[in-house]
Structure formats: structure tokens, C-alpha cells
Symmetry: C2
Subunit: 322 residues, 2 copies
């Protein structure tokens, strides 16, 4: 049995997106449901998702554990797993971790670019590592089986999270620094620590994380994956496409600026390239998984290895949190 | 004209407390109205204060600027200035800074012991300094004339706040480290930076900040003040007593633990000394200002210098934010 999993999308959700994911044979998608929202605002987002699950029940349903990935495969649907790109919904209250898990939140980033109450984001000048509250929250996430995601965190914070957490953590969506010096791509040190601790990295298809941005070639991307397997086990890699399609550019501006600044921050972009960059033509949406399958085989991955990378590794990882 | 100002109290507010402050001839008190509250919770605290102002209008009124200190003196009342010991009420929204100023909040600490979204607290292992959001919030506090208070912040964060802020900042309640190695007393480096930037320090009468704790003598305290004037101008020191009287011990537990941990943190205390420590017998409440006046003169301060320390310096400082 092989599964296809995209372990990070933040699309402008609609019937069209769910149909695309379905045509791409995605059995599971880790969907971002928060960037800056607090607890009550997140509940509103979840209510919206309840509408999606009701209105598009022939395409999607909410996933809670690995059995839902199996069920999705059987029913030819996509299981949607909730994840937060920020810890803002727990506010300053550790009790909210369990409440969020009970609402189906499986992934939580400890930071989104900036310093949070828990850890340091990848855009800060200095990195404290995990804070006093962060240590407590990691224990609590371990206890309730919520997965720690450090995609947008600074390096020392990431290494400390790996060290402190009793369960493996993930980088759900980023690429290695050795391939492209993206502002939040990950160093060999992080890849090694992930490898040694049983963690996972999901490769990103977001142009700011790609060599040559929107012009990145499929072969370059797949060769990067092959090279990465010299640094982290082939059983600990997957895809986290970071697809943000069909959004107006105002959304990426909100993602970057939230309500924390009165000036304008451009994140991975810049003033002359402030919007969402175009996707590479071989991965304009999740149907690009078919191109990835071919590309991975072209650079020498076996049938089994290719399926591991395109979903089976994530499936096995999810099982650890059932 | 001389003013008496206690630039930090967090008492269990009541008619009795306001009468004591009145008998102590306090013209102004900076009252803490927040440790962990978010914006909406803070508004509830402010409503409670509106009741106090109504019920005890012969003793207190809300202060907004230095003219209210003059008015308090004329009317033999105490002007109450609002301050936050944490930035939790601005949540992650920089717009709340101005809203809080409009509600009368004159002081805001950038951190309370732990890492905040703005800076690092004094109990964290490592210190990032001022965060990306912190830099924006300092600019905004400068703009709306809200005073930055770093009493519970880590050292590097404090030095960076002094450097970044275009207006002088305060340590409203702490003592120098050279006298007592309290967990959050301040180094000579901080005193020098405060001195050079026009900032103020308010000396604390909270036993964990005192040499020999509750047994600290008046003479030792006043000699410490004299020694401190070798490090910071005599025009930049005052009193911030940190009086927390009439509270049950459950309050100090809440101050320390809020909702950020499921284990128990003892802050400046410890498991065998977890509650509020008793005040020194010469400063059991604000009426101790009379003892301070005598003690300061006994260690050689002139009449004018004594009045500067007991309130005139704070009055002059408040004027900079009118």
C-alpha cells in the first residue's frame, strides 16, 4: 500500500482546490489553519472548515490519526489534518494545548518568523532557544501527542526543541540550505539532529525556498532530494509543498505583517517582489506530484523509495502520534 | 514645592490602602493594574478602578500627567497612574499600545520575568534583546508617550531598550546588584546606561530585593541609596516600593505562574518560602516614607536631595511625558 501526502498546504480553500488534491490522489493534506489568530479567532476558522467538511464530504473529511489516511485511500478522499504555523492560539495559556488537540490540531509551530512566547523565529537577529514557557509547552505537546513543527524557527531554537522533546519533531516545509540559501532553509546541523532524533523534513515547493525560484527545474529539485539523503535517512523525508495558491497578494502581506508592525515587512520577498511568486511550471498545484514521481525515479530512486518520499514516510510518522 | 511619589505599588486595593497612602502624603502612586491579563481582561481591571475612583473620590483620582500630581498635592489626594508589569494586554497587536494609552496606561514593562513577544525577562536563561515586534512597539510607545519600564527584564534587553528608545526609560522598582544579589536587581552597567540616557530607577522595598530581606535595616537601605548616587545622578533616583500588602499568598503564586506552566515556579522565593515575605518593620506600608525621609537625612542627604529622592525626581520625569 502506498500513500500520497502533502504535509503542508495553505491554499485559498475551495471545491476547486479539494478537487485538484483529489485528482492528485492525495490521501492526506496537513492544512494550515492559523498564522496569527488567537484561540477564539482560530475557532472561527475551524467552523469554516466544518462547513467545508459538510459541503464537500465527497472529497474531504477531517483527519485525526493515521487510520484516517487509510480510510481516505479506501474512499478516494483526502483527509485534512489541522496545523498551526504559529503558537498564537495558545496565547499565554498552556491549558489551550490540550483544548486545541481535542479540536483536532495535530501540528503546531513554536514560532512563525518572529520571537514567540515559546521560541525564536527564523527572522530574529538573535536566538534564545526554547523559553521557560516553551519547555513547559513542549512537555504538554508530547503528553497530548501534538507534533512540534519548527519550519519557521531559528536554528538554535530548532536544535533545542529536538533535544527537549521526547518525541521526534518535524520541519514540515523547508529545503536544505546547501542547495539554496533561502532565509529559512535548514542547515546540515539541523538535518543531522533531525536524522538522529527520528524527525522528518518535508521539501517545499514554494519558490522562495527553491534554487532559481520559480525557474527551478524538476531535475534540480529531485537531485537536491537525492543529495539530502546523504544527510538524513531516506525514511525521514517527505513533501510539504507550502502551496498557497489562488490567494490574492494581500494574504501574503497579512502572513508577514499580522498586527505586530506599523511598517511593512517583506519576509522572504522584497519591496519589488512583494506578492506570491509564481509556482514552477511542473508544480503549479498538487497535480505536480505526478511530475515529482517521475523526477524522483529519473534521478535514481526506486519505486519503493519514491513512494516513501511521496507519502509513506509521513504515514509512518503520523502513526507515532496515534 | 515638594512631591511624594511611590512609583510602584500593587496592594490589595481598598479604602484602607488609599487612606494609608493619603496619611503618608503620597501625591502620586504608580499602580500596577496587570501581570498576565490580556486586553479584555485588563479592561475589567480598569472598570474596577473606575469604581474605586467613584467610591473613594475624597482620597484618589486617576492621574494622566504631571499636572495631576500638582492637583493631588493641592487637594490632599493621591493621583493613581496606571502601569502594566507585562505587555500581555497588547497581545500581538501594536494598535493596542495607543488604545491603552488612551485608557490612561502610562507605564508598560516589556516583559514580566519570562520571554515576551517584545523582549527577554529576567528569569530566562538566554537574552535575545529587543525582538522585531519589540522594536516596533518601542517606537509606538515613544510616539504615544507611554513610559518603558524594564524592572523585570533581562540585562541585554534592558540595555537595548535604552539604546533604541528615543525617550528615557525607567526601572520603576528594583535595587542595585552591588548591594544585594537579588535575582532581578540591576548591575552597574544598567545603572550607567540609565544615567547616560536620562532614565530613572525607583528603589524597591520588597524584601527579596533587600539585603537581609525582611531584616534589612533602614540605615543599610539609605546607605545603599547614597552609594548608588556614585553610579547614577541623584536627579535620576526615586522610590518604587513594590508594596504588595494585604494580599493572600495565592496572589504571589498567580503572579509567578499565571497560566504559562503546569508545574510551580517560585520566582524570587523558593518552595520553603513561597508566599509574600513580611515587610521590614520600618516600611510596613507607605507610611514608611516618613522613616525614609529621616533615614536619608541621617546618611547625609540634604533637605532638597531627600525631597528629590522621595518624589520630586519622579515628578520631573513624568513631565517629560506630558
Amino acid at each position: 500500500m502506498s500513500y500520497k501526502i502533502d504535509n503542508l498546504q495553505y491554499c485559498n480553500w475551495s471545491k476547486e482546490i479539494f478537487e485538484i488534491n483529489n485528482k492528485a490522489n492525495l490521501d492526506a493534506v496537513h492544512a494550515t489553519i492559523c498564522y496569527h489568530e488567537d484561540f477564539d479567532e482560530l475557532k472561527i476558522n475551524i467552523e469554516k472548515w466544518e462547513e467545508y467538511f459538510r459541503d464537500y464530504s465527497s472529497l474531504i473529511f477531517q483527519g485525526f490519526n493515521s487510520r484516517d489516511i487509510e480510510k481516505a485511500k479506501q474512499e478516494n478522499k483526502t483527509a485534512i489534518f489541522f496545523g498551526l504555523q504559529n503558537c498564537s492560539p495558545i496565547e499565554d495559556n498552556i491549558e489551550y494545548v490540550e483544548r486545541l488537540k481535542n479540536l483536532g490540531v495535530l501540528f503546531m509551530q513554536l514560532t512563525y518568523n518572529n520571537q514567540s512566547l515559546l521560541a525564536t523565529g527564523c527572522y530574529e537577529k538573535r536566538d534564545t532557544g526554547i523559553t521557560r514557557m516553551g519547555r513547559e509547552v513542549i512537555k504538554e505537546m508530547n503528553r497530548v501527542k501534538m507534533i512540534i513543527d519548527m519550519s519557521h524557527s531559528a536554528e538554535f531554537s530548532t536544535l533545542e526543541a529536538i533535544e527537549i522533546s521526547e518525541k521526534p519533531i518535524v520541519i514540515s516545509h523547508a529545503n536544505p540550505l546547501f542547495w539554496h540559501k533561502g532565509l529559512r532553509n535548514k542547515s546540515d546541523v539541523v538535518l543531522k539532529a533531525l536524522n538522529d532524533s527520528g524527525g522528518m523534513i518535508g521539501f517545499s515547493l514554494y519558490p522562495h525556498h527553491l534554487k532559481n525560484s520559480s525557474e527551478c527545474t524538476l531535475i534540480s529539485f529531485c537531485e537536491m532530494i537525492a543529495e539530502t539523503t546523504k544527510r538524513i535517512s531516506i525514511k525521514q523525508i517527505g513533501i510539504g509543498s507550502d502551496l498557497c495558491i489562488r490567494h490574492p497578494d494581500s494574504i501574503v502581506e497579512w502572513m508577514r505583517n499580522g498586527t505586530w508592525t506599523k511598517t511593512k515587512d517583506f519576509g522572504e520577498g522584497n519591496a519589488s517582489n512583494a506578492g506570491f511568486p509564481p509556482q514552477p511550471n511542473w508544480f503549479e498545484d498538487a497535480r505536480g506530484f505526478i511530475n515529482l514521481e517521475k523526477g524522483l525515479k529519473d534521478v535514481g530512486f526506486s519505486e519503493e523509495e519514491t513512494h516513501d518520499i511521496l507519502g509513506n514516510n509521513w504515514y509512518n510518522f503520523y502513526q507515532k502520534f496515534d
